[in-house]
Amino acid sequence: MNARYWPLVATITIFVVAYALAVMQFPALFSTRVLGNLLTDNAFLGVTAVGMTFVILSGGIDLSVGSVIAFSGVLVAVLVSQLGLHPLPAFAITLLICTCFGGTMGAMIYYLEVPAFIVTLAGMFLARGVTFLLTQDSIPIDHAFYDWVRQFYYVMPGGGRITFNGGLMLLVFLVGIIVAHRTRFGSYVYAMGGNAQSAALLGVPVARTTIGIYAMSSFLAGLSGIVYSLYTSSGYPLAAVGVELETIAAVVIGGTLLSGGVGFMFGTLIGISIQGMIQTYIVFDGTLSSWWTKIVIGGLLFGFIVMQRVIIAASRRDWRTKPHPEPAPSG
């Protein structure tokens, strides 16, 4: 098997084994209710992680997503609760602003030739700062549309519910998978992460793609903010602090190479699920504390980064021992 599938296989194995062990200890974990809650509780994280996967696949990083989530939630709350707008146009305005915001970051990264982390760091400060300009308190959203949306859910056999949010996350993942693996844009993202210089030589429109990647990441963070506001019925400027780290961790644990070019959108879904499962397990256990999540995630992160390093070193070493299909010489 190709060494590049190892991280994905490792992720899936870890998830399956860990889940099986958890179920052996708490049989109640084996239910669609748990699954449904896992989807609902991690919906905003998942939606953000789809964008982050594109960013990391391209060899970049986006530290601004947590702030953009908070900004989006608060802006929707302000538009709906204070200005009396219907949520749908409020969503549209919010998503538009977020997309432009991300596009600007992408343009700065490309044209100023600065590392993505510092540009998106500025973006992180900026988005959080603007959010606090809008409000310093939590703004409740009380709108019939929100209640209406919340009544959509699908009851799985066993009583578990896929809520609107959970379903939306799955839909975003589906679209993400298609875009990543079935569009030219997706291939450009992989190409840039593989080798930006070669990509440019092969005719990949690097400027346009960079801008597109960060615009999409911020768009999805904005969408995630909307999901978050549906989840909490409010907009809160201190929401989603540290979510950028959780999403980056989920993407890497999902088997995507932090230096870009290699990874699968589906892996990120598993990465999110592993994080969610650890939290669920801790809740079930009752005696463990939530900080264990961070340590386990950190440990997994370390394991995956080292594994990727080893894989890269190994694939360099076999340059000469590669399978060597010989083209038939002819003249």
Binding site: L112, V114, I118, F125, F132, W291, W292, I305, W319
Partner: protein
């Protein structure tokens, strides 16, 4: 290093003076201070005192950035060191041992980062991300999830006591800044660190121990972070693993960048990074006294980063080159890491 007098009119000093002046306009009592019980009080002292933790982080971060690295984990290391100090002092361990242990843990964290960077060859941002994610969890296992409070007068003294009429954090910050500057400038260490940041491969060829130096630099950053963490814990008389030092790594990076050390490594100045940290704190204070919410300074920081990025960018350099063609510019700056490695490690 020869330091001509022009260093006194550096833009950082002008910026600091302007911000302080602005603070004074907003709050006329800004520059006044008074002495009570042999201790000086006043807003200016406050800026120094509040700015101390970030300034101390920035001291270590300066050295890391000078090698063309970055350390994202310093905030988490602060939390770990604070947790160690608070827990041990609560168990009645003598203060000296407590401090040694907390600083030692910081060093250890730094050694971990340094090993990942220098030996495993991970990109600094990735290597230090691991501890950034896991560090707070580790801190919480130490405190077992509680905010561990303490009332050991010795430890508290480090956070809110006073020496020579000044709050202890200021004294610690100044001592550390002077010592670090002295060690880097009076020995050849500063030159070596710069040399690695400018061109690691050429430095190795010239006979430098690049790996050992890199590890040492990250260990130093860990030590500084631990110092900062002890002060922060002592200040609130407790270890809050969740919130202490949160996002301070970013402030520290910003302080270093404001201080004029390039993220591309090379020339660095510890005193200027301290000035950078004080600029950030003076802005925080100014925003507070003028009645804006404290989060407002996030906007100001964002604006600062953007301005610095634009000014330092190659694009601006090219434009500047056109505007002022008389200035000398090299045809091609230092080699990028990618070219350096591709020249050596091509598939053969």
């Amino acid at each position: 290093m020869t330091r001509p007098m022009r260093s006194l009119v550096k833009p950082q000093f002008v910026a600091l003076a302007l911000i302080l002046l602005l603070n004074w306009i907003l709050f006329p009592g800004f520059f006044s201070f008074f002495v009570r019980d042999g201790r000086i009080y006043g807003s200016l002292i406050d800026v120094l005192n509040r700015g101390a933790p970030v300034a101390i982080l920035a001291i270590g971060m300066t050295a890391v950035i000078a090698t063309r690295g970055i350390d994202l984990s310093v905030g988490a290391v602060m939390a770990i060191a604070g947790a160690v100090a608070a827990t041990m002092v609560g168990d009645g361990t003598p203060l000296f041992i407590v401090l040694m242990a907390a600083l030692g843990v910081g060093l250890l964290c730094g050694l971990w980062n340094g090993t990942l960077v220098a030996v495993l060859g991970l990109q600094p941002i990735i290597a230090t991300l691991i501890l950034m994610v896991a560090g707070r969890g580790i801190a919480q296992t130490i405190t077992e999830g509680f905010i561990v409070t303490f009332n050991d007068p010795g430890l508290i003294f480090l956070g809110s006591g006073a020496m020579l009429g000044l709050p202890t954090p200021i004294i610690i910050m100044a001592t550390l800044a002077v010592l670090a500057t002295a060690v880097f400038r009076l020995t050849a260490l500063g030159l070596f660190v710069q040399s690695i940041g400018v061109n690691e491969s050429a430095s190795t060829y010239a006979g430098l121990r690049s790996r050992a130096l890199l590890i040492g630099v990250y260990a130093f950053a860990g030590f500084c972070a631990a110092t900062s963490g002890i002060i922060a814990a002592a200040d609130i008389r407790g270890a809050d693993a969740n919130n202490v030092g949160l996002w301070l790594e970013l402030d520290a990076i910003l302080a270093v960048v404001i201080g004029g050390t390039s993220l591309m490594g090379g020339r660095f100045s510890i005193p200027m990074s301290v000035v950078g940290a004080l600029i950030i704190q003076a802005m925080n204070t100014g925003i507070l006294v003028s009645g804006f919410p404290p989060e407002f300074n996030l906007l100001v920081k964002a604006a600062l980063i953007i301005v610095i990025l634009v000014v330092q960018s190659p694009l601006a350099g090219r434009i500047w080159y056109f505007v002022a063609p008389s200035r000398e510019r090299p045809p091609d700056d230092r080699p990028s890491r990618t070219t350096a490695t591709s020249a050596e490690g091509g598939p053969k």
